[in-house]
């Protein structure tokens, strides 16, 4: 843990990085004090509330339909079956195409990867420009952007359809990537701006004295110091874009439809029996990628937020 402290020279940076790792509250005293029982008890109860739905999803997804109709949703499956998973992944139908979620998986990847990369690149450059190269009027644009974070997506569908149509990229992957970049921009720019503002300003000055320009400073000085905040941005974007349904379906053609469209089709197949087990399996399969990203990089997430969002 402490090695991260040593890695960073600037006091502000060191504090920021260390901040994500070490608990700072008052120290606990005895192991089995009343205080500890309260502490862990509360945490355990909270954990139960957060875990319950996941448990229900997993359990339900492994039951057969007859068992679901009879039993309660919390009881473990009497007979474990993976049939719903298979069905959700490979057999569930959308209209004439009966290949389940698998159909949309690669599309989701094809959408998420470039959208995540480009939106982060653009937002980080914005944040960098706002933090270090502020020009007259920059704050105005930023304020509009922040207000834009509050605009419901649905409101913007028509204007964006028109803009994309005029640009001639409606229905293309490029168009969708741009849409994701636009709607990811407010929050990401805020995060990056805060992060870059928290870096010691003298580093930036030193680089300018060294003759580095806008892009050289960005790529050679700022980027290498910004891993934590990039991790945060990546997690937020992967989650958001992977889970997106509306844009994926409105701004592309069927050959690009992401996995969530199939999920929607499976879950909302209105005219048929509701197969809860398949729904849950499909839900878990669709959520798998962001979930894995969270489980793997959750630690970096807190550290990154500590480094970025904390500083105003």
């Amino acid at each position: 843990m402490s090695d991260t402290v040593a890695l960073n020279p600037g006091p502000a940076l060191a504090a920021a990085t260390r901040a994500g790792v070490e608990p700072r509250g008052a120290k606990p005293r005895r192991a089995l004090s009343g205080r500890n029982i309260m502490l862990y008890g509360t945490l355990a109860v909270a954990a139960l509330y957060y875990l319950l739905p996941l448990y229900v999803m997993v359990v339900t997804s492994m039951k057969g339909m007859p068992e679901i109709r009879l039993g309660n949703i919390f009881s473990p499956p009497l007979e474990v079956t993976f049939e719903p998973w298979v069905k959700a992944w490979a057999q569930a139908c959308t209209g004439l195409n009966c290949d389940g979620l698998s159909r949309g998986f690669w599309n989701s990847v094809r959408i998420t990867v470039p959208s995540t990369l480009i939106s982060i690149l653009v937002a980080s450059v914005n944040g960098y420009a706002l933090a270090n190269w502020k020009f007259k009027g920059a704050d105005l644009f930023f304020t509009i952007l922040i207000v834009g974070a509050f605009i419901p997506y649905q409101v913007m569908i028509y204007p964006i359809v028109i803009v994309l149509r005029e640009m001639g990229i409606y229905g293309t992957l490029t168009g969708l990537v741009i849409v994701h970049t636009i709607f990811g921009m407010p929050i990401l720019t805020l995060l990056f701006r805060n992060y870059f503002s928290s870096l010691p300003e003298e580093l930036f000055k030193a680089a300018r004295i060294d003759g580095a320009g806008f892009w050289q400073i960005y790529f050679r000085i700022m980027l290498p110091m910004s891993l934590p905040i990039f991790v945060v941005a990546m997690i937020l974007q992967i989650t958001g874009i992977w889970n997106d349904f509306l844009f994926g379906v409105v701004f592309t053609r069927p050959e690009y439809y992401p996995m969530t469209v199939q999920l929607n089709n499976i879950v909302n197949s209105v005219q048929g029996v509701k197969e809860y087990n398949v729904n849950m399996a499909a839900t878990l399969l669709t959520g798998a990628v962001p979930l894995i990203v969270y489980f793997v990089s959750g630690r970096l997430f807190v550290r990154g937020i500590a480094a970025g969002a904390v500083k105003g």
Binding site: G25, F135, V147, P152, N243
Partner: protein, 300 residues
């Protein structure tokens, strides 16, 4: 200092040129999409556009109809309730969890992952699973009843008076983990000497949190607030997946009104009028604050 050619101040436009060029995507987004889209929306809210936008102006007709619509009124009330409770509860729960997590506990990583994972799931999934859990025939109610308490009633999704709280339970489940993370990060940013000082001064822990630590966490609270509040205004998917606005119109929200009228009712003008009301409300609350917070301040 003589004989030197006098170099004039370069054009204002060219100063910081790279920065300006690099900010073009941001400027375009801000001006064309957010500002332009907003203006376009406002303009067309004064028309009777149906399926397609058309410039037949009808004055305030759409607004009169909007404010006469019981569903819109219910939506606004729901948003107010949902918003107020989400704001308060996610900050309170998020902060409590963060404070607990900050007590040098064991298994911190495990707990954090548990609290945070719902954020990885979409609102659609969140709505579905909580619909399932709160279903009186399968979920919590039936389980408690099967344990012997047969008069137990807990069916928020089928009770118009409390349905919005059912949505709230799901919304908090999805969002508080992130709030906790943000606030935990903020807590970790507090100088340890503050804790030492307050311990030496004999200030009770809760007082230290309330009067010293929380005021020091202002920046992180602002980021958190932006994220929570923008989520509240946009709440749509969750309601659609969990209750579809029901029972009746008891859990309708403004974003859903906008979407339904724009696309299902094919009455763009009405949808735009509702959007405009949302935008105006947001603008009245957010713009002055955002400008104070992000605008005039100079970097030190």
């Amino acid at each position: 200092m003589t004989g030197q050619a006098h170099t004039g101040r370069p054009s204002k436009l060219l100063r910081n040129l790279s920065s300006k060029i690099a900010s073009i995507p941001m400027m375009l987004t801000a001006v064309v999409i957010f500002l332009g889209g907003t203006i376009w929306t406002v303009v067309y809210s004064f028309t009777n556009s149906k399926l397609l936008p058309r410039a037949k102006f009808v004055g305030f007709d759409q607004y009169e109809r909007l404010w006469d619509a019981p569903r819109w009124i219910v939506s606004i009330q729901n948003l107010a309730i949902y918003g107020a409770f989400t704001l308060v509860f996610s900050l309170v729960i998020g902060f409590l969890l963060a404070a607990l997590m900050d007590q040098k506990i064991r298994f911190e990583n495990t707990f954090r992952t548990i609290f945070l994972y719902p954020f990885a799931l979409s609102f659609i999934v969140t709505g579905l699973v909580w619909q399932w859990i709160l279903n009186p025939e399968f979920g919590v109610q039936s389980v408690v009843r099967s344990l012997g308490w047969t008069s137990f009633t807990f069916d928020p999704l089928y009770n118009a008076d409390i349905v919005i709280y059912g949505v709230l339970i799901a919304g908090l489940w999805q969002g508080t983990g992130l709030v906790m993370c943000l606030l935990l990060a903020g807590l970790r940013g507090i100088d340890e000497d503050i804790w030492k000082a307050s311990r030496v001064d004999g200030i009770p822990m809760w007082k230290t949190y309330l009067f010293i630590v929380i005021p020091m966490m202002r920046p992180v609270f602002i980021t958190t607030l932006v994220i929570i509040a923008s989520g509240i205004v946009k709440v749509y998917d969750l309601v659609v997946a969990q209750t579809s606005g029901g029972p009746g119109i008891a859990s309708e929200v403004p974003a859903k009104y906008v979407y339904d009228y724009m696309f299902q009712a094919q009455n763009l003008g009405q949808g735009f009028a509702a959007s405009t009301m949302m935008l105006v409300t947001v603008a009245i609350i957010i713009v002055p604050w955002a400008y104070l917070e992000f605008g005039g301040r100079k970097r030190v």
